[in-house]
Amino acid sequence: MRTARGKRVDWMGDGLTALCGGALGLNLLLVAALLSVLIYNGVGYFWPRPVTRLELAGGAVVLGEILDREPIFETLDAGVPAMRIRIKVGNRDLGSADFRWIDERDIVSRSLPPQAVVLERVEWGNFYGTMVELRHGAEVLSTGPEEVWASFRLLRERKLDELAVARRLERKEIGAVNHEMERLRLERKRLEGTPPSAETSDALRAIEDEQVRLESRFEALSQRLFDLREDLVAETLIVEAADGTRAEIPVVEVVRAVRPNVLDTAQASGVYVSRVWEFLSGEPRESNTEGGIFPAIFGTVMMVFIMSFAVAPLGVLAALYLREYAKQGPVVRMVRIAVNNLAGVPSIVFGVFGLGFFVYLIGGSIDQVFYPEALPTPTYGTGGILWGSLTLALLTVPVVIVATEEGLAAVPRVVREGSLALGATKFETVWRVVVPAAAPGILTGLILAMARAAGEVAPLMIVGMVKLAPSLPIDGYFPFVHFERKFMHLGFHIYDVGFQSPNVEATKPLVFATALLLVVVVTVMNLVAIAVRNRLRAKYASSAV
């Protein structure tokens, strides 16, 4: 077909181009939508919201953060539907639910009282109310909202220092004693298992003496901790809820106190930063509904690292054999098909395999040989970060093999011949010329593997991932890196917080924030790997390879 000017119109071609462009556009739109939903819901959560005081018909008073507003379903048929608001009222210790729906028609007046205070607490969630008194035991230190607010902030600084002292005592000193006692217990059990002799009975006696000594040290430390704790909770804050009921809260249990209605932008930003920092660096509280997710970030990153260290040599060596050494024929072709299909096996199947093979078979054998004194308590014979990482390494090894093979195949034959013609052996050629030339391709495979592993949840649930891990897999006790420990993971944390939480309504924003963080963690790890790859490529710029 031609237009009047003789230009040919290619309907098929133009339509196809538009279709392809449209498909790409749709993809980009979906990614953008995903990220903006996460950012909108996750990032705004940490900004302090105003606290509204509502007087309702019938005299009731409600104080809290207004979160939602929506039409009431029953009044939808009317011309102008009535609206209701969702307000977070907190004060779970005073017997109220965290959230309330209030019909706007019941509201008599609204105000933003400047003295309203939000207390984020270690237990029981937020408290909304006003400060009444600050006490030390029965002695009143100050009264009245303004005075209490001023003296509370100074006092809390001091209490936080004291808290840090108590924590150190608990974690470091008592922790060390516990660790040593456990070691002695196992040592004793081991000795008792051996045939009795003069040496063993001597050793046993020495252990008993040591145990007695530790026992008394433990008592002393516990007493000191107990005293410290008593001092810690000596100062209390008397607060009054909107309905006039009062509560007594130990100062040290207040994580953060904010007067949101009188914050200027700078102060609000300060609160925002401190909340985000707590989220990133803190440990979870209140069955993961509050506090931070640092252990989950740590677990995810460490798991991906161990996985990379396992999968890179395994996949690269396997691909090297397949591409460089194996005689190309039907067997190799079948192996290659099998490897590709392995990538399509549902991940939970790998999880079950990891449980049976790594945890029960290998872990169980390790326990039999190296940790018999701890049995029947398993050491490696139960899920742990090592087994989780190795399971994911198996899951992602096809990706690395395929990418490495492609990278190796792209190295021209003439380059290999150049090396062989200089008298290099096949191994020297592969190791010194072919593998470096294929390194960018290998890294691409590793990047894909890392991205897949970081997002994988299902198989990990049965090989060592837990809702709440008591300690990180790396700490100050020998051997410092504890591969057998259970770990937390961002992906599972999202599921747990979103669907298994006792307070789903309160944790909804945390789900988005955690999901956003998971995306960020994966992106950062990928960017690092991509930067390494680009450096390699730049090193051999304008490469024909």
Partner: protein, 302 residues
Amino acid sequence: MTDRTDGAKALSSEDKVNVEAAPAPATAPDSKARPAAPTPQDVVQATSPAIADPILDVRSLSLWYGPSQALNRVSLVIPSKRITAFIGPSGCGKSTLLRCINRLNDLIDEVRIEGDVRLEGRSIYDPSLDVNALRKRIGMVFQKSNPFPKSVFENVAYGPRIQGVNDRRRLEHLVESSLRGAALWDEVKDRLADSALGLSGGQQQRLCIARAIAVEPDVILLDEPCSALDPIATAKIEELMMELKEQYTLVVVTHNMQQASRVSDYTAFLYLGELVEYQETEKLFINPVRKQTEDYITGRFG
């Protein structure tokens, strides 16, 4: 392997012809003067030059890629410290012949070889011979320049490193002398740490030559070293070849008959896997014995 020994035995008579011909430089004028029609033995003598100082001796070499034969009983003697050129149309087997000399054809599956190649009297197909040691003595430069994806320095140092030279000072010395030997030093001395792949095509090819001479070989095989280069780069490489023959034996495969006539001392013309004529270059181009050769060099076919 059995094929080869059988072939070598069967052809021992022809061997003798070559070996005897080699030390007798007076045969060529004799054959010209003879009025009678040339016997087959005369043709062999007439189409093979007298070589005073041989280094490589190809003896009745045949090669098959699977079912198709690429070389058919090729015999020739390559002189030491001279440039010998292989010419012929595409697919005539000249590159195959070249790659037999450093046993690079071993890498190809389904290749079968009969006959023998001797380097200074010793068979390179001797099973007890170390192929890698052989390839250190016989360097090679390829049609397409193939620097490794490494720095200029590491490219040249690759061969010495493979041989176990790790002393930095010695490597630096070797790299410099090799690059000077390949007339590349002045152009790359300030960018030794840069990627070799950033060099121009001609520089890359000279780098490959430097890489080859860094292991101090006896023979350098050049497989159409200038076919991807412009005339200026080609001139440089040719000039370099003339210098290199002071120290090394050069065997060059080329499509370019002017190049063969310019640089080489001896020229072998191959056609369909057979050695048609092998002469001093001047003689082959001015006064070829065979009509096939004449047709080819005058551009009547090929």
